[in-house]
């Protein structure tokens, strides 16, 4: 039950953490002026009137960075248990972890050689 008590604290923390920013925003709702008009609410583009859709075409490069990040992030699912247990492990486990990281480094090297990591 100790485990769940620690998490109960986190649960209460999650509930409270929303209240802290909510309070001043709600408070300012009562204090601040409310005088909206069309000009004020225009999209801000340094005084120039906005042209076309907000939805401009983005480079695929953003997706590639997120992709490489995703792969390394999922790798952590295995590396963190490996690191936690590391002091109790033997040379075989070191080899297994080495191979694991080496395979992923391969992917990084491939992306590098293919210029997939360049900001164009």
């Amino acid at each position: 039950m100790q485990l769940l008590n620690e998490w109960a604290f986190i649960g209460v923390f999650f509930a409270i953490a929303w209240v802290f920013p909510l309070l001043p925003i709600a408070g300012s709702w009562f204090l601040r002026p409310h005088k909206p008009n069309a000009i004020k609410q225009q999209t801000y583009e340094c005084g120039v009137e906005t042209v076309g859709d907000t939805w401009v075409q983005f480079k695929v490069q953003y997706y590639i960075y997120a992709l490489v990040f995703l792969v390394f992030d999922v790798e952590m699912v295995f590396l963190f248990p490996w690191a936690v247990a590391y002091k109790q492990l033997d040379w075989f486990a070191f080899g297994a972890g080495f191979l694991f990281i080496f395979l992923l480094a391969d992917a990084l090297i491939y992306a590098w050689r293919k210029n997939a990591l360049e900001w164009i």
């Binding site: 695929v60 997706y63 992709l67 995703l70 992030d73 999922v74 699912v77 295995f78």
Partner: protein, 102 residues
């Protein structure tokens, strides 16, 4: 404590929601999101069975970790295909991608 069948019921409901999404949506990204929901339903089942039946055996947790890998790989490649298809055919509606259809 909450009984095992309650977890299974929620997981089953999530799985069926995912099935509905996969079958009914036209947008490929939506379909992919529905598949993620189904994978999560499977994960709930794996962890729930592990906790209630074999809490000292690592099978449940290890397989959940592998499901994470599958989900990530599927999302990465699936979304890459969607982006590629969009670039060539300017559409992400699955019914429009009918080049290989008989």
């Amino acid at each position: 404590m909450i009984a095992l069948w309650m977890y299974l019921l929620v997981a089953a409901a999530l799985f069926c929601i995912g099935i509905y999404g996969v079958l009914s949506r036209r947008n490929a990204v939506s379909i992919l999101m529905s598949i993620e929901l189904m994978l999560n339903a499977v994960n709930i089942n794996l962890v729930a069975f592990w906790r209630y039946l074999t809490p000292q055996n690592m099978g449940g947790q290890a397989f959940t970790a592998f499901v994470f890998v599958i989900a990530a790989a599927e999302a990465a490649v699936g979304l890459a295909i969607i982006i590629s298809v969009y670039r060539n055919r300017k559409s992400v509606i699955v019914e429009d991608v009918n080049l290989l259809k008989w």
